[in-house]
């Protein structure tokens, strides 16, 4: 399994591969194009030139398979403010692969949201909302996680917790691409891709 791309403008001649069992941290200063890169990779942004390959084939050809094995969390959490965390996750799950209620409760519990399952999300704090978004990772069966600044607004426990989740996912053969300005301390094969240097090189 790998994913590969070439790209111009913000970052020209960028080329990288991600294999299962690996974590890639996309680094770069503000405005260096991290968010743009992730959105291009997962197909939300099509304003680019270059190719994205999934298992050796262009993504366009294997779109469904790619989407089924990929999960993305961006700057905007994808959490409806009126629904409760449970309802939000139930819907998210149904989009990829349905999860039953016990899985959802367990996922929320692992992210420290036990007892918050049935509170409307608008009544959650910034960090709690982010945790709901992250709970999606646990109930999905996707092998590639694409995370844009997932540590934002998380407190110290939350950060540690997420780092453990990432390490666990990678160690069971999953792949992670993430951006963050935090120094990352995960216990697994990790690589960094520095967009600032890419830009300087080009």
């Amino acid at each position: 399994m790998f994913c590969e791309r070439d790209e111009r403008i913000l970052f020209s001649d960028l080329h990288f591969e991600v294999a299962g069992g690996e974590l890639v941290q996309v680094k770069g200063s503000n405005g260096s194009g991290k968010t743009s890169l992730l959105r291009i990779v997962c197909g939300l942004n099509e304003d680019f030139s270059g190719a994205i390959l999934w298992k050796g084939e262009p993504v366009a050809d294997v779109r469904e398979d790619f989407l089924a094995s990929m999960i993305y969390t961006g700057h905007r959490a994808g959490v409806n403010r009126i629904l409760t965390p449970r309802e939000n996750l139930r819907w998210s799950a149904s989009l990829q692969a349905p999860a039953d209620d016990s899985q959802i409760v367990e996922a929320l519990g692992r992210l420290g949201l036990r007892a918050y399952e049935d509170i409307p999300c608008r009544n959650l704090s910034a960090g709690q909302t982010q945790r709901v978004a992250l709970a999606r990772l646990l109930i999905s069966k996707a092998s590639v996680w694409i995370l844009d600044e997932p540590f934002t607004t998380l407190d110290i426990h939350g950060v540690k917790n997420l780092e453990n989740l990432l390490a666990e996912h990678v160690s069971t053969g999953g792949a992670v691409i993430l951006t963050t300005h935090h120094p990352l301390s995960v216990n697994c094969r990790a690589r960094a891709l520095d967009l600032d240097q890419q830009r300087i090189n080009s």
Binding site: N45, R76, V79, I82, A97
Partner: protein, 236 residues
């Protein structure tokens, strides 16, 4: 986890379940807000009663414009509630998740459109006889009006959806939507209102219904595809 068969197997079941889940989600959101359920009706009622205030309380005069007023108000009520369709999802990022679903977007968009119609179109259809009464619509035209609205309002939701999908990423709201959606909806309005007026004059209306039905069929097959494409562009 990477076994393609497993994913394939899951997928067969889940297009239907994703459809249902999306429909249910949107209905739950509307139910929780409550206002979403009440407001289309109230809006319809209020707009309809603006016309006598603006035009004249005279029964004869009102009766001659009643079909048009009810239809225009239904159109406006449907259009005003369109904003609920994708806006909130766009802003909280749910729309990105929808687009990243491996399920065919056609069905997901269709589910959202159906939910929208159930919330905003159906109540209008149900309430229309009362308003028709208040505007002195001749009673022989009631059934025609209800039926044309029943066929016409889903078309309004489906066409409207394209407009919202195109404009959901833009900062300014409301009006650009109207400018895109209203022209698309005029054929339905014209045919619907014409059918009602024709019945009032004792003319045959089956051809109008055939036309409306054809438009609905067309809208059902094409509009969700267009909306899906538009959503992809907007989220870009």
């Amino acid at each position: 986890m990477n076994d393609a068969r497993e994913i394939q197997g899951l997928k067969g079941v889940s297009t239907w379940s994703a459809f249902c889940a999306t429909l249910r989600r949107d209905l739950i959101i509307a139910l929780k807000r409550r206002n979403d359920l009440l407001n289309p009706i109230m809006f319809f009622l209020i707009v309809v009663s603006l016309f006598p205030l603006g035009i004249s309380p005279d029964p004869v005069e009102l009766s001659s414009v009643s079909a048009g007023v009810v239809w225009v108000s239904a159109l406006l009520a449907s259009m005003l509630s369109l904003d609920n369709l994708y806006r909130a999802d766009y802003e909280d990022g749910s729309l990105e998740q929808l687009l990243l679903s491996p399920q065919p977007l056609y069905f997901l968009v269709l589910a959202k459109n159906i939910a929208h119609w159930l919330i905003s179109g159906l109540p209008v259809v149900i309430l229309s006889p009362l308003l028709a009464y208040m505007l002195y619509l001749p009673s022989e035209a009631y059934w025609t009006m209800v039926l044309t609205l029943l066929i016409g309002t889903p078309v309004l939701s489906l066409f409207g959806s394209i407009g919202v999908a195109l404009t959901v990423g833009l900062g300014s709201r409301g009006l650009i939507l109207a400018v895109i959606v209203l022209p698309l909806s005029t054929p339905v309005l014209i045919i619907g209102a014409k059918a009602v007026t024709d019945v009032m004059f004792g003319l045959p209306v089956s051809s109008h219904f055939a036309l409306l039905g054809a438009i609905l069929a067309l809208a059902l097959t094409m509009a969700p595809l267009a909306s899906a494409a538009a959503l992809r562009i907007s989220v870009n």
